[in-house]
């Protein structure tokens, strides 16, 4: 015997909530012994186990009513006012490109597969746009704004800037990670190459040394290894030249550093030290002797003497007044 449990359950819930209504009391009393006895005597209940079973829920689907409602709701507006279109999604270009067969359940998109679902919506919108544009052109409604048409947008410029920044930052992060990966690869590769080069050099050196030793010990008469030597010497001659120039510039650099480095010369550089006092490298004998000998100057004659001799005060004055 199947008793409708739906009403029973609701009764229990109501009892839990503490609501007391006459209805609930009556239904409660149905479960009491007396009522059950009465029902049994009437023949409603049969002997045996009686199980509470849920009555299948009756759902309202008033098709006629809905159709009537729809008829009442409909407004006969021209398409231009409504701009609505019903269409299945456009063809999936990506799918075709990949050569996959279109999904059998094309109409039934899987709501859990996010990408597929969003692409489905996108394609539906695309199909609508493709269909609607010629219609709009016919009715004289444009979809493109002229460039000088400034109007308020749904999102403020500030917001769009934020969006742009975020996109750019995302791109940058991507690029950085790519660069880092490449660098890592390069370093690995570079390390390998370096190791190889070092090994090669060591090998060559070893070979050269053994060849030289052999020649020294008189084992071989040939001086073939020298050719290799020459080639290497050519390279090595350029090497010391480079070293020399480096040292040369190094000296200049040193002098400059000394003079101007660390904020210039320190005080006291104009005073003599023991070393500078004993330093006679700045002594020019010729100049010194030329200065002491006046007679020598007279002997030489007029023209050449004046290069080293400074004329006296009166002569200088005369020269000055003359010029």
């Amino acid at each position: 015997m199947i008793i409708d449990s739906k009403s029973m359950e609701s009764v229990e819930e109501e009892a839990l909530l503490g609501e007391e209504s006459e209805e609930s009391e009556e239904e409660h009393s149905e479960l009491s012994d007396d009522e059950l006895q009465e029902a049994f005597s009437k023949g409603l209940l049969k002997p045996g186990m009686n199980v509470l079973v849920d009555k299948p829920k009756k759902l309202v689907n008033n098709v006629e009513g809905m159709k009537q409602c729809l008829a009442g709701l409909r407004k006969d507006l021209p398409w231009v006012e409504r701009l609505d279109l019903t269409n299945p999604p456009a063809e999936d270009v990506i799918f075709k490109a990949e050569g996959k067969a279109p999904t059998a359940s094309k109409g039934d998109v899987n709501a859990d597969d996010d990408f597929q679902r969003e692409m489905f919506f996108y394609r539906q919108a695309q199909a609508t746009v493709l269909e609607a544009l010629p219609l709009l052109n016919k009715h004289g409604i444009s979809t493109k704004r002229p460039d000088d048409y400034f109007a308020e947008m749904a999102k403020s410029d500030q917001h769009m800037q934020k969006i742009r920044k975020k996109l750019i930052s995302k791109q940058l992060i991507l690029e950085k990670s790519e660069k880092a990966k490449k660098l890592r690869e390069q370093r690995k590769f570079g390390k390998k190459v370096q190791v190889e080069v070092i090994q090669k050099r060591q090998k060559e050196k070893k070979a050269m040394m053994t060849a030289v030793k052999k020649y020294q010990k008189g084992m071989t008469d040939k001086l073939d290894f020298l050719e290799g030597d020459k080639k290497t010497s050519k390279d090595s001659s350029q090497g010391p030249k480079k070293a020399v120039t480096k040292k040369g510039s190094n000296a200049k650099r040193k002098y400059k550093d000394q003079k101007f480095g660390f904020g210039g010369k320190k005080s006291g550089k104009k005073w003599n030290t023991k070393e500078s006092y004993n330093d006679v490298s700045g002594f020019r004998a010729k100049v010194a002797h030329a200065k002491s000998g006046k007679g020598g100057k007279k002997g030489k004659g007029g023209g050449g003497g004046k290069q080293n001799k400074r004329p006296g005060k009166s002569v200088r004055k005369k020269m000055k007044s003359r010029s």
């Binding site: 759902l59 409602c69 701009l83 979809t143 308020e152 996109l167």
Partner: protein, 332 residues
């Protein structure tokens, strides 16, 4: 005259006069009709107004969604929050006061669940939905933008034409979401498209911006999912026209999850208890081994032969020396 001028499209009216003259010159009935059409051109005739408001207890996301919808729909009007104590038919009165004929009402329950009512205000049908998966305009992943107040294209799934309740909903959506032509706050361009798709027995709403004429789109606006609960014949009340069999109230959903978790825990406990019982119950000593005579095979009894002498050593080929040694010892 001043009132005339204040009327919308006053300038156009002046222009129309000139056109009228032209047409009268042509003559005929068709001319009169065309004349009327031309007169109506530039005039806002489709007087559709939508009231968008909510009840108390909504959270920030719902508030932003409402604001976004108001931005998208220039033919919308806002109102203050309705007190939860008032019954739902009060909404109809509010609509009448605001002179609106459609209404989008958001109701928040338990600060968790959001319900949306869409209705045609005075007598028309209404529907109640559960709103899920709300994403607003302000999300940085929505990179598109559109003119504020531009008219949308509406795109519907063909499934909307297959069932009567979906057809009714389609009509409601069309009338509610499409911006009337020549609305004073609207822009004359069409640069975005609303899509309504049915998947998994729910209605998915998306808003895309049209970038190029070849239909390349970028997502703009809010997105949400509507789960239909019921369709009513009247506005915010009246007999039920349709009930969604696949709808499960969020409470029931949460309850199911909790019950499932509880059931799992109970099962684990039960299994543990059973194992405990098995370990602790008294083990009975078996008097007779049942498997004792499994391998007993009937065979003749041989006489018992007790060996008193040690058996002779075997001649192992490997250990030749040992054999020799033993023999040697024997000889000794």
């Amino acid at each position: 005259m001043s009132a005339f001028k204040r009327k919308r499209g006053g300038q156009a009216h002046v222009g129309k006069k000139a056109k009228k003259v032209k047409f009268v010159a042509d003559g005929g009935e068709a001319a009169v009709e065309a004349e009327q059409e031309k007169r109506n051109e530039g005039k806002w005739t489709n007087k559709e107004r939508v009231l968008i408001f909510s009840s108390r207890g909504i959270n920030f996301r719902t508030r932003h969604l409402m604001q976004d919808l108001r931005t998208m729909m220039p033919h919308s009007k806002a109102d203050t929050k309705m007190d939860r104590k008032d019954k739902l038919f009060v909404v109809n009165e509010v609509c009448e006061i605001k002179n609106c004929n459609k209404c989008l009402f958001f109701e928040a329950k338990k600060k968790q669940d959001l319900y949306m009512w869409i209705s045609n205000s005075p007598h028309g049908p209404s529907a109640k939905f559960l709103v899920q998966n709300i994403h607003t305009l302000a999300e940085l992943k929505m990179t598109g933008n559109c003119l504020k107040g531009s008219r949308p294209l509406l795109s519907f799934d063909p499934k909307f034409d297959k069932e009567p309740h979906y057809a009714l909903l389609k009509e409601l959506f069309t009338q509610t979401f499409s911006t009337p032509r020549y609305h004073p706050k609207s822009q004359p361009f069409v640069d975005h498209v609303f899509t309504f798709t049915i998947a998994d027995n729910r209605i998915w709403f998306r808003n895309y911006q049209i970038i190029e004429e070849d239909a390349s789109l970028v997502e703009v606006g809010p997105r949400f999912v509507l789960n239909l609960i019921k369709v009513f014949q009247g506005s915010f009340g009246g007999p039920t026209l349709y009930e969604n069999p696949d709808f499960q109230s969020p409470n029931m959903h949460r309850r199911e999850i909790r019950l499932a978790a509880a059931a799992r825990v109970r099962e684990k406990q039960m299994v543990k208890e059973m194992q405990k019982m098995k370990r602790t119950e008294a083990k009975e000593d078996l008097a007779r081994d049942v498997t004792a005579d499994v391998f007993l095979t009937p065979a003749d009894e041989k006489p018992v032969h007790i060996q008193t002498e040690a058996p002779e050593p075997k001649m192992v080929k490997k250990n030749k020396h040992k054999a020799f040694k033993r023999q040697r010892m024997k000889m000794w």
